[in-house]
Amino acid sequence: MSSSTLEVPGNTPTPRYFGREKSRTKSDKLFSGSIIVAALSSLFVLTAILIYLGSNSWPVLVEQGISFVTGSEWSTTDGVEVFQIWPMLYGTLLNAIIGLVIAVPVSVFLALFIVFLAPRNLSKVLTVVIDILAAIPSGIIGLWGFLVFTDTAAGWGQLLNQYLGWIPLFANDQNQFARSPFIAGWVLAIMIIPIITVVSREVLAQTPQELLDAARGLGGSLSGSIRMVALPHARGGIVGGVMLGLGRALGETIAIYFVLNLIFDVNIYKILNPEGGAIASMIVAKFGEATPNEINALLGAGLILFIMTLFVNLAANYIVKRSQREKLI
């Protein structure tokens, strides 16, 4: 009886959902074509590297078994070849963590200072200086770290040990403060501070003026407005900058090689002890005089570093996604 209403089942049309718009014009097609080629070729290079590393190191990895990553010995003497990289793997992470703990707060505060606090002329100068610092090759920083900075940082380490030595983290068994993970962390921090700062400054400067106006207009102080508006707005970008820095820290080779003792005995937390590890630096250190089998083991170590970097990035992404859902008030 009833005329057609919305409730009549068969009458509801099927909804049509939309994907991305298809390119129709010639220039659009050319454009998306080249983008696809570029994207695929980077995937291809990535896969090629993985296959190369994997296939070459596979026999050694199988031979060494799981202790390749869990064991702490590396020797080629007496014809017995043992390749185990746990101290290097762990050291890589430890150095990076120390580097981030120092670099992240410094970079974010520096970026906030440049964007919101510094007189306009000073902030222009700082921007240029930091852009230049970000472009310094790591070898130069490593050399500087080795020649100049090590002594200073060792002094800081000694102070830490003197006053906070009762905390296990700052204990030192060897009464020698050079070439420790602490110093490696500092050198990494100095390398990645410019990167994180550049990215953070860029995204903070993009905070919409009308949102800052809203916050200030409601009686927000500068720090309150930064906390409630600028930082939430920039969070994704800042984390992106931290990821870039982390990537560089994990893969850093030469600079670490200059300032850290690589020891095949895992140093879990005594960051002031002159013993640590770093996969990339170890590869460089061993490569020159390596036996054929050892070279394959080093390629295996590279593969592990590669995979670890991938996982760290995935984990970081997950953390960011989760933190974005966290309440602000």
Binding site: L211, A215, G217, L218, G219, G220
Partner: protein, 291 residues
Amino acid sequence: MDATRIASTTNVDIEATGVRVPNTPQDAHPRNPEDANVHLETKDVHIWFGQRLIIEKVNLSFPENSVTALIGPSGCGKSTFIRTLNRMHEFIPGAALAGQILYDGKDIYDAHVDPVDIRVQIGMVFQKPNPFPSMSIKENVLSGLHLAQIKYENPDEIVRNCLERASLWTEVKDRLNASASSLSGGQQQRLCIARALAVNPKVLLMDEPCSALDPGSTRRIEGTIKELSQEMTIVIVTHNMAQAQRVSDYTAFFLAEEGAPAQVVESGRTDEIFMRPKDPRTNDYVNGLFG
């Protein structure tokens, strides 16, 4: 100075009458002129962006618990002027100011005045809706209390009360935790009004608050303005002449002659400005003949 006088000392020296007559018979709160204390007052205000003088010699008084409409052609400097009233102007690089802005008799630009305090007491609703996109509707309403570090109890009550006064409550009461960016433009603007009300300002500056709203919500906002004017002083910029007539007790007409900074051509009681303007340019403008 006569407390109820709202007069421009620029081009036309009109003698605003001292008697405040309700605009309409429905005017909810007629007052004796003696009760209308001047709350906010500008003295010889000049405003610059860089070297460019935008506004010249504005003398206006905003009596307590009244609504004053600022009208004038686009680009003449109404937003710029209203932003000087709670020290938002100074955030713009190159912005400069001369003259005094007296709030309860004290210059808000005095060296020992904390601008943050001023902005808590003199709130603002902007031309473009600007809710905080990363916060929920509820959080947006409470955001001002957090920003101004005002302690509060009963957040739910505050949220409901402010949203009701901004006539947004019925539309959002079931999704208070949804993101503010999921609202329509007009709803976002009403959210901004609710957000401004939450900190309980004594003066509310509204820069074209209805420019993004449909006629229905516009009417409701106008009702809100009328109601609010019982407890706070309101300054509203509007391009809508009918709206100025409906909501305001006083009107000031800004005009920039070709290449010159803007001045207040005429100001006074709204009915006078619209019915018996003294300056022909005011007459042309309010009757839609230019601008």
